[in-house]
């Protein structure tokens, strides 16, 4: 059996790795998306004047930010099954990443909400918009535009953090790398290729963040 040279071999890994990269992007994207909505809710709770809401929210943010993502994912995956509810790996991964990202995004969004002039909210109230209308039609669009660069770099963090979902049997980029490595017995090149795929993803995202930043600065 003739072995193809290094370059051809590395090209051969690409289709499977790209498949895994798509899964990684999907899990991270859903995580950041759900994390955004949960982050808005969390921000509301954090800025509530009622300590029964704000205190648990603060504890939640502190615990999420003070523990590793891996631990959060393991808890999301194994704890429900211990209580008798089977959660598939993919679902546990997206829930875990959403819960994680919500805590970080609540901090990012907080800065965005603080930047909206009070007058706008008062004006919206005067025009008889309900509180949820004010939130979704006046505040959230502006907050999104203001914090987009920071949210894209949060997405970069989540893409990198999502590498550990391979542990709860999600076939993401890292998992595909592990499978290729155990079938080819060439861990160095396979894992280097996987790392390069991550590098491509994060570099493209940071390019996107840079473009957002430029757009924002021009306004």
């Amino acid at each position: 059996m003739d072995t193809p040279d290094l370059f051809t071999r590395c090209l051969g890994y690409l289709p499977a790795l790209l498949d895994g990269a798509l899964n990684t992007l999907w899990v991270a994207g859903v995580g950041v998306g759900c994390g955004f909505l949960a982050g808005i809710l969390l921000h509301r709770l954090l800025s509530s004047t009622n300590p029964w809401f704000s205190r648990p929210a603060r504890v939640y943010v502190s615990i999420i930010r003070g523990t590793p993502v891996l631990v959060q994912l393991l808890v999301c995956f194994y704890l429900p099954s211990a209580l008798g509810v089977e959660v598939p790996g993919l679902l546990a991964a997206t829930i875990g990443l959403s819960l994680n990202s919500a805590a970080y995004q609540s901090q990012i969004l907080g800065a965005g909400f603080a930047a909206i002039p009070r007058g706008q909210i008062e004006a919206a109230r005067t025009f008889n918009l309900s509180r949820s209308q004010t939130l979704w039609h006046v505040e959230v669009p502006q907050v999104l535009a203001l914090t987009l660069p920071a949210l894209v770099s949060e997405m970069i963090d989540v893409v990198k953090a999502s590498a550990v979902v391979s542990v709860i049997s999600v076939t993401d980029l890292m998992r595909v790398g592990q499978q290729l490595s155990s079938s080819t017995y060439r861990p160095l090149e396979v894992y280097s290729m996987a790392a390069l795929c991550y590098l491509a993803l994060t570099s493209l995202l940071s390019l996107a963040a840079w473009v957002c930043q430029r757009r924002l600065a021009r306004r």
């Binding site: 523990t67 160095l188 940071s206």
Partner: protein
């Protein structure tokens, strides 16, 4: 309660290992990051470009993939490290990239006028470095450095995947042998939370108590 008391010693040992791995990795990374930063300051274009590429590579890839390259990949080249060694080495390479960026931010925060003034007073470049730049840059960077140590502690959980018996691995072992989930996971979360919170607290105290670390406000 009984379960709690039975598990506590094993968790304490595991938390100590997590702390040791993270401190060793972060200390080496701190030194490496400082060297990288010095190269960037005074090493010319080629060095600066090399350091930039290093930072880009290490910050653009997940720590898990770096750990796998070191632990599973390097033996191909004849360098075989044990799991804890591979963890410390990877943590050092990983955090050096972040530390060098923190030092860069610290140096960027020094007002240019001060360096010009030091020149005007005829200070040697070494005296300027030690007495003007370093103390201010460190005072600026202290919260960021502490935050990076917290990130390293959290990232060290990944070492459980290559079977280093630190906090996360120990918890998985306990769960596998006792089939009890709630208490071990609660202790695991509490363990990491206490470690990271104490680092944050220590950094706060240092910023308040140690004179030259006090940020002028």
């Amino acid at each position: 309660m009984q379960e709690f008391l039975e598990l506590l010693p094993r968790f304490a040992v595991a938390a100590l290992l997590t702390l040791e791995l993270s401190l060793a990795g972060a200390a080496l990374g701190l030194a490496g990051g400082f060297l990288l930063h010095l190269f960037r300051l005074g090493g010319g274009r080629v060095f600066a470009l090399g350091c930039g590429v290093y930072v880009w590579l290490l910050r653009g890839t997940p720590f898990l993939s770096q750990l796998f390259i070191v632990y599973f990949g390097l033996p191909v080249l004849g360098l075989r490290l044990s799991a804890p060694e591979a963890t410390v080495v990877s943590l050092a390479f990983y955090s050096a990239a972040y530390f060098s960026e923190i030092f860069r931010a610290g140096w960027a925060a020094i007002p240019r006028g001060q360096i010009e003034a030091a020149h005007a007073f005829g200070m040697t470049s070494r005296a300027r470095f030690c007495h003007i730049e370093l103390p201010q840059a460190l005072a600026f960077a202290l919260p960021l450095l502490a935050n990076q140590l917290i990130l390293v502690i959290k990232e060290s959980a990944v070492a459980s995947i290559i079977t280093v018996p630190e906090l996360t691995m120990t918890t998985s072992n306990i769960i596998a042998s006792t089939y009890s989930y709630v208490m071990p996971y609660a202790l695991l979360i509490a363990g990491y939370w206490l470690l990271t919170q104490s680092v944050a607290w220590l950094a706060q105290q240092a910023a308040r108590r140690i004179p030259f670390l006090r940020t002028p406000s």
